[in-house]
Symmetry: C2
Subunit: 222 residues, 2 copies
């Protein structure tokens, strides 16, 4: 973004029907950051529901209450917006996994169970309308920019890494047999889990998530 | 479709730059069926690649070589087209499963293995660009007509039914233990398999399909 774009952006935010409101540089910058964050937040919500292609910039601007035409003051392209949405979701999920998996008050396998239960609550909260942003965007790869592909795969690999670490701790305690490979099991978990989220969305029910998780837990302890 | 629409459709197909070609009623009807089938075939290809929302009617008409504006001679709406695309894919898949699972020259579990290998070849053939049409449309449920939801779930249940039948035969032969439930296992297979197809598309590699299938086969025989 150029300096003149930056200035135009501040003006766009402060001029409406009434007289321009005077804002100092710090207030303008803070407001700009807030608006950008609100656009990304709305983008995350819509992409978890319907993917990236179907998510219209105009709809997002309307939802957030930002004047039409000022999108490019915040993002150079829809693609750049998509990248910001992926990063935001990845950060949110990373924090969630770190919090759940570092909870030493429970044994490691119960931490993974807690993640499964947290996901079920999340799916119910939005009446099974919202799925996984990474899964949704992954399905669209035929059309969305191939640059997304690598980032989405990296995000999944990071989730697998956290899960493998958790399973590794379970193995150290003898909760899963010594001949099991936590890295391979974490990959299986995430392959199946993305399928379970998709199916729960389709069925409008948490049963697929519970059935897959139950099967996974039953098989890893044998 | 009304009779006058039908007549308009035939005209649209027969009038071009040159003089109209005379066709009798039977030839016109056959040509109409061929064109409709070609549109559906192209719709299946594009939806396996990128889902329904991103698939443009204009692009399909251009691909098939049908004049712009004549789409509504074949389908009353894009939704009706989507339904025809789902039915076509469902029939194709039903035939594939019936063929593979009724192959009594191999034991039942090897028939399921043959399906997995067939799917891997299919993914490779299109360079991991095309996934599962049912999975793709399932991800879009936030926006696509909810009427699709029930049909997509029915299609998956039918695939599970075939798979459960195959696993049941394996159980009768003692290839999987007597305490296993073929119906529950078939559900787990399809939950995980849709996730594996998604991940293979994302990774551009068949490894997720192979890893999930290996895990599934290893766990059902224990």
């Amino acid at each position: 973004m150029t300096a003149s774009n930056e200035a135009a952006s501040s003006r766009a935010l402060t001029t409406g029907r009434g007289a321009p409101v005077r804002m100092d540089r710090t207030t303008r910058a803070a407001k700009r950051r807030d608006t950008r964050a609100a656009l990304v937040r709305c983008g995350v919500e819509m992409c978890t529901k319907q993917g990236f292609q179907s998510t219209g910039i105009e709809e997002i601007l309307r939802e957030v209450g930002v004047p039409k035409g000022s999108f490019y003051h915040f993002f150079p392209s829809k693609h750049a917006f998509g990248e910001a949405v992926i990063e935001s979701y990845a950060e949110y999920f990373e924090r969630k996994l770190e919090r759940l998996f570092s909870d030493t008050s429970r044994p490691p396998l119960e931490r993974l169970r807690a993640f499964v239960e947290d996901a079920e609550r999340g799916m119910r909260r939005y009446d099974f309308q919202r799925g996984c942003l990474v899964g949704n965007l992954g399905q669209e790869l035929g059309v969305i920019n191939q640059a997304f592909r690598q980032r989405l795969e990296e995000v999944l690999l990071s989730w697998q890494h956290h899960t493998a670490e958790c399973l590794s701790q379970a193995k150290s305690r003898g909760d899963i047999p010594a001949d099991k490979d936590p890295v391979a099991l974490a990959e299986i978990f995430w392959i199946g889990w993305e399928g379970a989220i998709l199916r729960a969305k389709l069925a409008g029910d948490a049963a697929p998530m519970r059935h897959f998780a139950d099967y996974f837990f039953a098989t890893i302890v044998k």
